[in-house]
Amino acid sequence: MDTLGYLAHGFAVAFTPTNLLWCLLGTTLGTAIGVLPGLGPALTIALLLPITYQVAPEASFILFAGIYYGAMYGGSTTSILLNTPGESATIVTALEGNRMARSGRGGAALATSAIGSFVAGTIGTLGVAFLAPIVVKLALAFGPAEYFSLMVLAFITVSAVLGSSSVRGLTSLFVGFVIGMIGVDLQTGQPRFTFGMGELLDGVDVIIVAVGLFAVGETLYVASRRYAGKDEIVPLRGSLYMTASEWARSWKPWLRGAAIGFPIGALPAGGAEIPTFLSYAIEKKLSKHKEEFGTVGAIEGVAGPEAANNASAAGVLVPMLTLGLPTSATAAIMLSAFQSYGINPGPLLLTTQANLVWGLIASLFIANVILVILNLPLIGLWVRLLKIPAPQLYAGILVFATVGTYGISQSPIDLIILYLLGAAGFLMRRFDFPTAPVIIGMILGPLAETQFRRAMTIANGDWTVFYRHPLSLTLLTLAFIGLVGPHIWAWIERRRTRGPEHVPGDA
């Protein structure tokens, strides 16, 4: 069967009434948590992980995918009306979108962002459907050494290339490795890092780590900074329908945004920040209305980055589904959902779990349609969610954090670990350490270790296996360039602009 045949089959799976309901539930929930500051898709999917014991894999992945896409749509609403990006990927949207809202064009900003998300999300999902089988063919040539090197590359890109500091990003990643190693070593049955505590033999649940870092840590951080600034909701004025000139100014940025976002998302680099910033820079350069950027708000500056954001979110699914390589916190938690079903994402997934994968991809198309309806005609509903006052919102988040954590095994130890991770999350937030690499390190670290040991066993303990295979060597070289390149580049730039003067603190 070719891609179209598989896709038709996927629509047959996704169009069953129950799966449509899951999709509707996921998209609604996703939009809600995207709109609410302090809640994100990674946290929400982590809290909902226990559902994997209750329902079929198709149902829970359709739900999770709906949440994942929905959060992107909802996050832009918050960025535009509140100027507090609900998601790191919507920071750029806030730049122009909030200015547009302030100058009375909030409706047009919301419309271009929702329709742009729809266009780019649909293009991105088509990209997943057609690119995934191609990547699978490539991936079949991968042995354990290549997989390990690919994971090293992903580790470097998610922690060192993105974000403000490679040292801090890698620190987060290594903390994730340590958390991931806690428990019984799967290959030898030896307990590791349990500090003699029986409770730690099963390892630390990803739910606890995600909830600790994203819910408890975030709540503590917001509490510590409560007087730093009050958010002001810009009332929604103006028609939700874009004028002809706004359409004319939007459609090219949508397509360009999708063209930038999808490939960057699909590379094992992930992250929606780079494509959104890139798209913003390009739109600013190409726009005929440069004077609107940074003043009254330029519609191109909303349309492009929003499209890039959604297309890259779709792109992230390619390495996740075909290689089992998550490159965002949300994807890492979805990977642990696969593990909970005993399914290993990888090249064989598309054929062995055709129902699941193609049903999931088809449901993404449906989710996009539902989301554009949910987020345009029903926008008033979501604006009302923004009015939930911070005290009750954060207190409520902590109640749900307790349900999610204590519900795992009714052990107060879990709550203690949760709060310790919350304290760590607070410090990380306060001192600018990214949190996503912790989750990625924790989920992907053990997989990388397995591939590493497998490769070493096959090669009889010969370390050279990682650079004797050309593909593996290429991947490792790329990783090295990713790690060192930006520093050398910055050094050259510095020498050129300021002479060989010493600049401290570039950690």
Partner: protein, 178 residues
């Protein structure tokens, strides 16, 4: 991407950042200690369960040294973050709420502990309507319990509904008195 790191003024020791670096070094030490404690069967001596932990430890040592160097050169906090005073009172109430939840969840059950945590956290965030918050917390906790936990099939607390209703009544009594 950000250039805020490079704007550090004259090199000055940054204490919080230094503590983070040293703390990470201590974590690397703990990793080393726990790695040494892993029993290894001679069968797996080649690439056993210790290799990856040692690699992780080495990475952590290098990273913590780099962090310490950065701290000695003035740290990496952006000025905006440094100048914002920490609201210790608000944080204190949130922490008190979390601790109360931890201590009370077994004796009182999930609902009552959640209500107390909810009120404390709301107070920390500046809400001055404890009674209204308690009611909201109660509704939310019950919704979380019946809607979320039941639907997901997670079992909270010692947990049958009588137990929960008891907790609910004791919470109500507690509110009535207080």
């Amino acid at each position: 991407m950000s250039t805020s790191d490079q704007q550090a003024s004259p090199p000055r020791l940054a204490i919080p950042e230094l503590l983070i670096g040293v703390g990470l070094l201590a974590c690397a030490g703990a990793v080393a200690w726990q790695t040494l404690a892993i029993p290894v069967s001679p069968l797996y001596s080649k690439v056993g369960p210790k290799v990856f932990p040692y690699m992780t430890m080495a990475g952590m040592v290098i990273l913590s040294l780099l962090l310490i160097v950065a701290a000695l050169r003035g740290g990496w906090q952006p000025d905006e973050e440094k100048e914002t005073p920490t609201d210790w009172k608000a944080m204190g109430f949130v922490v008190a709420g979390l601790v109360a939840n931890l201590v009370l969840i077994q004796p009182l059950g999930f609902t009552a502990a959640s209500v107390i945590m909810f009120v404390l956290v709301c107070f920390g965030f500046g809400s001055r309507h404890p009674l209204r918050d308690a009611l909201l917390g109660l509704i939310l906790a019950l919704a979380a319990y019946f809607g979320f936990a039941r639907a997901l099939g997670v079992n909270i607390g010692a947990g049958l509904i009588e137990n929960q209703l008891n907790a609910l009544i004791s919470a109500l009594v507690g509110i009535g008195r207080g």
